[in-house]
């Protein structure tokens, strides 16, 4: 193309005849541009997936607290449609509001709990957890008697219960009065409601998992995958901030069965407990069962020194 190519001595020196007399600089530029384009394509690849999985409406959705009733109606309809498409289930999504004058409290009688795990199973079914990993908001520690150090407990015990030298400690979200998980959220996707329940907006969560690291009780769970649930096992009675099927990549946690308890019902784990170890109710009602327990039993909370002020209490008879 240019003069040097026509010079026979110089042409012999060039080792790659196809490239010809193109300078080393141009070759490097070309390689750089190719790599750059490749990297760009790889970088935007998730966006093409994103287009398939996320509607524009979902992308543009506002923070839960900024939604009005009309927005919510549309969002719930969209989520119900998604549940039909992805899980083949007809579900109903609501968002029951806190009952005025109610602050929830929970107590577990460790003298009665025998670690049978029915509570964890009921939670699994009620809250549309991933069947593949048997996810549940409740984790039961088999603890040596004489300590409340969770490090010494085992959650993988697989034998008849109760063992004579052990006690059983069910741990779930304690709906702390001073929740460290809420403080660390960089996008305000998790907050405390007026009845004390700490909720997560799964559509606002960015999956950074700071809250998981901040919780001293390992009460939060991360959805590594979208949950797998057979259509006939999906619980159709769903709350937007509670048990609706979570998307992949968001954090979730126990919400005291908010979709049930805000309508006056007992939590699913309490109803399932065969030993009657669980007591639930309104802390602000001086005549409630939970108030009686707090007044008359020696209740304690886990890791009290951290100052998170759990509202789930333990007691022994």
């Amino acid at each position: 193309m240019s003069d040097p190519a026509n010079t026979p001595e110089k042409a012999e020196k060039i080792s790659l005849p196809i490239i010809g007399e193109v300078s080393r600089r141009t070759v490097l530029k070309g390689i750089g541009a190719t790599l750059g384009l490749g990297a760009f394509a790889a970088a935007i690849a998730p966006l093409t997936q994103f287009k398939d999985q996320t509607s524009l409406n979902e992308f543009l959705q506002q923070h839960y607290k900024e939604l009005d009733d009309e927005d919510k109606k549309q969002i719930f309809a969209r989520l119900e449609e998604e549940a039909r498409e992805n899980y083949g289930a007809d579900v109903k999504i609501r968002d029951p509001k806190p009952i005025p004058g109610v602050r929830y409290g929970y107590a577990i009688n460790l003298s009665l709990c025998n670690g049978n795990g029915k509570c964890a199973e009921a939670c699994h079914r009620e809250n549309n957890h991933d069947r593949a990993v048997n996810q549940s908001y409740i984790r039961i520690f088999e603890m040596p008697k004489g300590t409340s150090d969770m490090e010494q407990g085992s959650t993988t015990y697989d034998h008849a219960v109760p063992q004579p030298d052990k006690y059983y400690l069910p741990v779930q979200c304690f709906q702390c009065e001073n929740p460290p998980c809420v403080e660390v959220c960089p996008v305000e996707a998790t907050w405390q409601e007026a009845d004390g329940i700490v909720v997560v907006d799964y559509n606002w969560c960015i999956g950074c998992r700071y809250c998981q690291a901040a919780c001293p009780y390992h009460a939060r769970r991360f959805n590594w995958r979208a949950p797998e649930i057979p259509a006939e096992e999906v619980n159709p009675d769903q709350g937007y901030l509670s048990n609706r099927i979570r998307p992949q990549g968001v954090v979730e946690k126990c919400h005291f069965c908010m979709h049930r308890t805000r309508e006056g019902k007992l939590p699913a784990c309490l109803e399932a407990c065969p030993t009657g170890a669980r007591i639930f109710g309104n802390l602000l009602d001086p005549n409630s069962e939970i108030s009686w327990v707090l007044k008359n039993k020696r209740c304690f909370v886990l890791k009290e020194e951290l100052g998170a002020k759990p509202t789930l209490y333990y007691f022994f008879n």
């Binding site: 004058g101 199973e121 008849a160 219960v161 006056g264 019902k265 407990c273 030993t275 309104n282 009686w292």
Partner: protein
Amino acid sequence: MNGFSGWLILLAAVAAVAIATIAGLRTAEEESPGGTKVSNSESPATSRFQHPVVVNHPTGPPRIATGKVDALGREITLSCASCHANRESHLETNNEKDLKEFHQGLHFAHGTLKCVSCHNPGDYNSLRLAEGRSLPFAEVQSLCSQCHAPQARDYEHGAHGGMNGHWDLSRGPRQRKGCIDCHDPHAPSFPGMVPTFKSRDRFLAPLQEGKPHE
């Protein structure tokens, strides 16, 4: 004028009677069939109409299976009195080994009690309190409460025994288990169980070599 005030007094009297009647009905409702007083909590949030708390209890004396069927294939069961009405009571019997003719397979592990500590030797279709008073089977909970006072106290305050339904009685009823739903009266210690459900989340088991992090 006189006539008007007379009417007022009459109205007030009628109202007073009505209120007293309603109050009486409410008290009657709070007394459960099992004889256990049910705490119907009143609260700022739940001061409206209160749904009932229903306590499970037996409907009457048990029927004993004979293991035989009648001509139509129905199981033949007997009332306690079928045998016990015309035979002498064995007041000292305190274990299942002494039951030679009937009640085979009964497991008895309830302290040092004798059969007649709870069963009424005067009328086997009823139970008997420690003070000697006869007690219908439906009210068995009062019988248990004689000795198990701490449990009875906790039960009365909703802190013992499983339940279903509503924590907020202004929104719906509640159903509570009775003593003998969980405790076999002849061997009352709560049976052992085997856990059937285990999560497989990654915090539960140590990571295995070569397995992905999730």
